[in-house]
Symmetry: C2
Subunit: 208 residues, 2 copies
């Protein structure tokens, strides 16, 4: 891990946390990983290594051998979702996140990356919020739904994120004390928030 | 209130939030009010106006008339603490905070000022945290106590602050979504945190 700078971003649904992460990564020349990218990487790396290697070792794992041809396919997806416990999935994702963090300076969005990488000395853990009206507005722009449905989706998604985070870490999702910086993205707007975070990275890690 | 800029700071005990507020006020040329200053102002203004004026109006309030000579004295203090309900005290403090905010650009530390001044359009609400070890260290430097006593004091004080805030506001103390900015003061250190907040004030309100 050594010299890599790692920015971990937690966020309320619709707060703009993901786009802040993307713009940050672009501006700083860091790699960017959100939930989907971590999930893909886990399927390619984690599932491959942890399960298919086992299948190779032990011929009694005939059923796994049979699955080899389906790597990275829809069936591998189904296998991930149906047959692996959440704990195992979390463990695979954690290994993948650690590997990615060791490879290059990165921005991770979600997936408890702040907790998984807590031993990394150059972590900057951020949580992004926004007033509920702005979040509804942002989500409405990308999804055609009734206002009530958007409100429900906000609440449901944040409940899921909170439950996931609080289960897998020893910290509380969205609590100021769990992060180095929490930011209302509407206070300065997305772009100035990105600038602000870049300045803090420069201050703290000497990278501009 | 109009043009005044108001910075409200909540903070974990021992996080350095108060000193950040003081330095901010000095740097920006703002007035500074912490819990004690608000309390003094409330006694001088609130108690005087709300209670002693009543005593003047109605002669049947003989007992209050007798207290007039004790304004701002130890007995007035006792009167505040023993005979006014917490709700009344909160109301007096709220009036005083609004008056102070209308007078000049200010930094308020604690006392739910962020909530009390929620209608003010130029508010910047901040919450300061720090790792527990740094908070113990900071408190130990100013108070001669055993480590265990300091730990107990941290917990007790933050519980009180949290209960007070959660009771009087519709927000949650220390939750990222209750503030525009939450900051771990150990991440950049006190002085660079002050600089950062000044830059945000300049960005947002055009004041440098």
């Amino acid at each position: 891990m050594g010299e890599n700078i790692i920015i971990n971003i937690g966020r309320q649904f619709g707060s703009g946390g993901r786009i802040i992460g993307e713009k940050l990564a672009e501006k700083l020349g860091f790699s960017f990983y959100d939930k989907e990218l971590i999930s893909i990487a886990s399927k390619e790396s984690g599932l491959g290594r942890e399960f298919f290697e086992k299948a190779d070792e032990k011929t009694s794992y005939g059923i796994f051998g049979g699955l080899l041809g389906f790597r990275s396919s829809v069936i591998a997806d189904e296998f991930m979702n149906n047959y692996l416990s959440n704990e195992t999935l979390f463990k695979i994702q954690s290994d993948v996140i650690r590997e990615l963090a060791a490879k290059s300076s990165s921005v991770f969005v979600g997936r408890c990356a702040d907790y998984i990488l807590r031993e990394n000395r150059q972590c900057f853990n951020i949580f992004v919020v926004a007033p509920v009206e702005d979040r509804i507005e942002r989500v409405s722009q990308r999804q055609k739904m009734s206002r009530q449905s958007v409100e429900d989706l906000l609440e449901k998604t944040d409940k899921k994120r909170s439950a996931y985070y609080n289960y897998y870490t020893n910290k509380i999702w969205g609590a100021a004390e769990s992060y180095h910086l929490c930011l209302d993205s509407s206070f300065l707007g997305i772009d100035k928030s990105v600038d602000l975070i870049c300045r803090i990275v420069a201050e703290r890690f000497g990278k501009s």
